[in-house]
Amino acid sequence: MSVSILVVDDEPDVIELFRQRFRRELRSGAYVLHFAASGRDALVRLAAGVQPELLLILSDINMPEMDGLQLLREIKRQWPLLPVMMVTAYGDDERRCAAGASGAADFLSKPIDFDYLKRRIQAFSPAAPSW
């Protein structure tokens, strides 16, 4: 089963970054990455159904229009079982707590520690091959 992850970030270069970071996994087809540029876009995609089935969502917090926490709450409202990890440059406790309170599965600060991320993803999907 492929690990399906939705990455929500308003920064376009994030896409390239993730694609390069997960090039091997992508090449092998172990991971499938989806990208949304805004919270709204993400919700639309989710509502439309993402295939393969999402394992988790990675969302930035600082986004224009709908910020990550709002998105988190929304996702949790509609799809409570879908884990959402928050990624942000702001690593303050306040956001951390808020994210935790809203049901975030984890809280990562930028620059993303991809090793840690891979491990955390693995934790969510034991079936995912460990590289």
């Binding site: 920064e11 970054l17 390069q20 620059p111 993303i112």
Partner: protein, 669 residues
């Protein structure tokens, strides 16, 4: 009414004098009026009375004098009368002579005695000076003594002068019976003169006698008599001659001028049967002396009374007014603010009561004033403290805000930079990785190819890798800077709350230590802590204090590390000691390291923002400046540094223990 509130001083002064003077004058005036009226009336009455009395007395004296004279003459008359009894003419000449001699002896005033028989012939003559003659039978029938005596029984002859100097008078008395004869006596009026002289009229008064015609008969000054003076025209005498009632009566006293021209009070009384008028004269001054005396007396009494009234009035006025004035003064002073003013009045009347009430009021005012003052003082002090606190709080707030805004700014900047940096790093790393893969791919493809192209590719690949390494390196450096900045400007946004300071210190120490070790695994330092249990709970911003402590401790770590690297050598044992100490009003935290120490120049500038001794890229220079602001401005404490270059550095943070909470009714400190 406004005038009562703001009474000008001069008016008051006028009033003050006025009351006393008014009263004194009123009193004086009243008494004076009474005295004057009384005195005047008295005076008038007494003058009138005295005058009347004087006149009456004078008249009485005149009457008395006349009476005396009359008495004198009557005496002589009665003596002579002895020889006029019936049958006397028959007693025989010897007996008659004897009788006459005896009469002479008894009546010194008589000088000569004559017995004229019924036909007027002298039968007997007995004399003191002349020889006695018996039976001369000289005919005296035609003479007035005989004729008048026979007619009127008794005749008083006019005054005549013997030898020109001796006043005499003839008294002729007819004998009892019909045609019995007459005894004629020559009377020496010298004796009357003696009586007249003897009459005392006051001190300097005198009496005199004039005949009906106004001739002086008797006078203390005999020479006047002897000159046979006619006084009928004298102002003293004339009225008497014209108006004298034949038998006296009424008051004849009047003030006239006597023969000397002196003013005398003169009265007279007639002796009708003698045809004489007796005058008594008293010098007017003497007569009126009692009047003048009473005048002076009354005047003196009046004067005395006035003086006494004046004195009494003044005294009374003062007695009354002084307490009132005191009241006034006391009220004034009280009004001006002298609350200790008390009025001392012991007059035993309403004024005293008033004064007592006043004093009571004054003490109450004083009490409440003092209380008020104390309260005001207290409040002022509280307010001052509150103000102080408020200001401090304001400062701290401002500081916090500044910090916050600064923090926000830097945080904002940091965050903004972080993202691009992120990409820089990531893509640089990725690129490096891709290069590796490229190398592998090339190697796999051209394994064994031993041409120049492989080595050039390899060289180029190596250069690109090296470049990318540098990019990553600098990227990491930039990232580190940003992190530092974020670390320093992170706003905890915490509240000031009571935390166990020792716990915070310990935590900070641990954090720092582990953090330092995580960064540089070869970092090692000996830690010591000496935490005073009495420190207990202190009101602080825990996150900020933690930051401060972290800052200082990490500075300490840096310093010791430097020293070790620079030349401390293996023997050098880096140590950092943290201690806390509790004081009644504050707690102190000491951080001491035995690192490189600080020079004076550094000490001066170390708290300046952006000042750092660290090489470029290692420190932002904001740490100490921020720490200073947190400690001093946010907490109201102190931060001090001691250092010896090359030996040690010690930071002492003093945090005030209790911060007065603003806007609450607080006790003092």
């Amino acid at each position: 009414m406004s005038s009562a509130i703001a009474t000008p001083e001069p008016a008051q002064a006028r009033q003050r004098v006025g009351l006393a003077v008014k009263f004194a004058l009123a009193f004086l005036g009243l008494v004076s009026l009474v005295l004057v009226v009384n005195g005047a009336v008295n005076l008038l009455l007494s003058y009138d009375e005295a005058k009347r009395a004087a006149l009456t007395v004078q008249q009485e004296k005149a009457d008395a004098a006349a009476q005396r004279i009359n008495q004198f003459v009557s005496e002589i008359e009665s003596q002579i009368g002895w020889t006029t009894r019936t049958e006397w003419q028959r007693i025989g000449v010897e007996q008659q002579r004897y009788d006459f001699i005896r009469l002479l002896r008894q009546t010194p005033a008589i000088t000569d005695l004559q017995f004229l028989d019924g036909s007027g012939k002298e039968q007997l003559r007995v004399s003191r000076l002349e020889p006695d003659v018996i039976g001369s039978l000289k005919d005296y029938s035609a003479d007035p003594p005989f004729a008048k005596a026979m007619a009127d029984h008794i005749w008083f002859g006019p005054v005549y002068f013997r030898n020109g100097s001796e006043p005499y008078m003839t008294i002729a008395i007819a004998h009892a019976g019909h045609d019995s004869g007459v005894t004629v006596a020559e009377v020496n009026l010298e004796f009357i003169g003696e009586v007249i002289t003897a009459i005392r009229v006051g001190g300097a008064g005198y009496a005199f006698i004039v005949s009906r015609e106004g001739r002086l008969i008797a006078h203390p000054d005999k020479s006047l008599v002897l000159r046979n003076t006619d006084w009928s025209q004298q102002p003293q005498v004339a009225p008497a001659l014209s108006e004298a009632k034949p038998d006296g009566g009424g008051n004849t006293a009047a003030i006239v001028r006597d023969y000397d021209g002196k003013s005398v009070l003169s009265a007279y009384a007639p002796i009708a049967r003698l045809g004489w008028i007796v005058f008594v004269a008293l010098p007017a001054s003497e007569a009126l002396a009692p009047v003048y005396r009473s005048l002076i007396q009354t005047g003196a009494l009046l004067g005395l009374g006035l003086v006494l009234a004046g004195v009494g009035g003044t005294l009374l006025a003062r007695r009354l007014v002084v307490p009132i004035r005191r009241l006034q003064l006391g009220a004034e002073r009280l009004g001006e603010g002298d609350l200790a003013q008390r009025i001392e009045i012991k007059t035993g009347d309403e004024i005293e009561t008033l004064a007592d009430r006043f004093n009571l009021m004054a003490s109450r005012i004083q009490e409440s004033h003092e209380t008020l003052e104390a309260k005001v003082d207290g409040r002022t002090r509280e307010l001052a403290r509150s103000l102080e606190d408020l200001r401090n709080a304001q400062d701290r707030l401002i500081q916090s805000e500044k910090l916050a805004s600064l923090g926000q700014l830097t945080a904002g900047i940091a965050h903004e930079i972080k993202n691009p940096l992120n990409f820089v790093n990531n893509f640089a790393e990725l690129s490096r990785e891709l290069l590796d893969e490229l190398g592998e791919a090339v190697g796999a493809n051209g394994a064994g190819r031993d041409d120049g192209a492989s080595s050039e590719i390899a060289e180029l690949t190596a250069m690109i890798k090296s470049n990318l390494d540098k990019v990553v390196q600098h990227g990491r450096r930039a990232d580190s800077i940003v992190k530092n900045m974020l670390l320093h400007s992170r706003q905890g946004g915490g509240e000031r709350r009571s935390v166990d300071l020792n716990a915070v210190v310990e935590e900070s120490l641990n954090l720092a230590y582990h953090g330092a070790r995580a960064e540089k695994p070869d970092f090692n330092i000996t830690l010591a802590n000496d935490l005073d249990p009495a420190v207990a709970a202190v009101d602080i911003y825990p996150q900020e204090i933690t930051r401060v402590l972290l800052n200082l401790i990490s500075n300490g770590f840096y310093a010791t590390h430097r020293k070790k690297l620079d030349g401390g050598g293996a023997a050098f044992a880096p140590t950092l000691a943290v201690s806390t100490k509790a004081f009644p009003d504050r707690v102190e935290i000491r951080i001491r390291d035995n690192g490189t120490g600080l020079s004076e120049a550094v000490k001066e500038k170390m708290f300046n923002p952006f000042f750092t001794t660290k090489p470029a890229g290692e420190g932002t220079g904001l740490g100490l400046s921020l720490s200073h602001d947190i400690v001093v401005k946010q907490h109201g404490g102190r931060i001090d540094v001691e250092s010896k270059l090359g030996e040690f550095t010690q930071f002492t943070i003093a945090l005030p223990r209790v911060t007065p909470q603003p806007a609450v009714a607080g006790a003092g400190s």
